[in-house]
């Protein structure tokens, strides 16, 4: 009796597991991450061109539950001795398909993937998530809020 119940228990569990294609979700998140980096570098083309700041890529290990650890790219912006990072927080995010945190000395801001693989900057998280499109103005506002005054 107990043996059959155990078998049924794991059969049901197994069926529930198999209906999510985690590899496809991960591929999608990593593609969205590359597209975010390209978008940011495009927005920063002028200051980079003038040599006012530098952009580098570093790799971190992200421990996302359900898919296990994977490598992802951190975009690092440097101005003199100050740096800000766009740190991947993973794809298991409530109400979004992925998240990146913009981390500076003075604080951090959130970016989330919205439907259509569009990235947005979180203006406020509660009582409901308010997201602004990522453009020159919102990026400038975010950088000002996390970098030294």
């Amino acid at each position: 009796m107990g043996k059959e119940q155990l078998q049924d228990f794991f059969r049901q569990k197994s069926q529930k597991q198999s209906d999510v294609n985690w590899q496809a979700r991960l591929d999608e998140y990593l593609r969205a991450l590359s597209s975010l980096h390209a978008e940011i570098l495009n927005l920063l083309a002028a200051p980079r061109g003038e040599g006012l700041m530098k952009a580098d890529a570093e790799t971190i290990r992200v421990n996302d539950k359900f898919v296990g650890p994977y490598d992802a790219t951190v975009l690092v912006l440097r101005v003199g001795d100050e740096r800000v990072e766009f740190v991947p927080k993973g794809m298991n995010i409530v109400g979004a398909a992925g998240r990146v945190d913009l981390v500076g000395e003075m604080g951090q801001r959130m970016l989330v993937v919205q439907p259509g693989a569009r990235w947005g900057l979180v203006a406020s998280r509660t009582p409901t998530l308010k997201v602004m499109p990522l453009d020159e103005d919102s990026l400038l506002d975010a950088l000002r809020s996390v970098m030294r005054q």
Partner: protein, 189 residues
């Protein structure tokens, strides 16, 4: 000296624990729905959690444990203080009650739980289990103070506590001190 005006609204340790068990079950079900929404990529059932990572979802739901631990220790404190007042007001003749009356004459209603009441209990306790129960509870009071004061400083905790640890600890303590776990009646007015 003016007596403490008692509310009669204190909760027993058991009442807090029963509340926690029910809330914990409900909370686990809610958390399960949030995690399922992440797995499915569907809208979350609670918009205020949008944007949180799984670790942050864990932290959010773990708040119940902290609230329960604070409430358990507060219920224990109420039971210990009510016992203290009962011994003072009824003018009992045992050594601890006499010590409490002396304390009351000096400290009035500003008597401290750790430095006065528990210290008196410890001085009068002659068996190792009671002294150990008092010591364990006193150690956990660092957690109580940290939670009660808004966690703005780095706590000095000997180890991590779970609600079950705190529940077992306060039941041990109150049993060792011979303080009833049920609501008490104190002549306070």
């Amino acid at each position: 000296m003016k007596r403490v005006s008692l509310s009669g609204l204190e909760k027993t340790v058991q009442q807090v624990w029963d509340w926690y068990e029910v809330q914990s079950t409900i909370s686990s079900q809610c958390k399960g729905r949030v995690i399922e929404s992440i797995r499915r990529g569907t809208p979350a059932p609670y918009p205020s959690l949008d944007g949180l990572s799984l670790d942050e979802v864990d932290d959010f739901f773990d708040e119940l444990d902290d609230a329960a631990m604070l409430d358990l220790m507060a219920a224990a404190e109420a039971a210990i203080r009510l016992d203290y007042l009962d011994r003072v007001y009824k003018r009992r003749k045992d050594p601890l009650s006499r010590a409490f009356r002396r304390l009351y004459q000096h400290q009035g209603n500003g008597v401290g739980l750790e430095e006065h009441i528990l210290a008196s209990w410890k001085a009068e306790a002659h068996d190792a289990p009671t002294r150990s129960a008092i010591g364990d509870f006193s150690g956990a009071l660092n957690l109580r103070h940290w939670l009660a004061h808004g966690r703005y400083y780095e706590p000095r905790l000997g180890h991590d506590y779970s609600p079950l640890d705190i529940y077992s600890m306060v039941v041990d303590l109150l049993s060792s001190l011979g303080i009833l776990l049920q609501p008490q009646t104190v002549e306070g007015k």
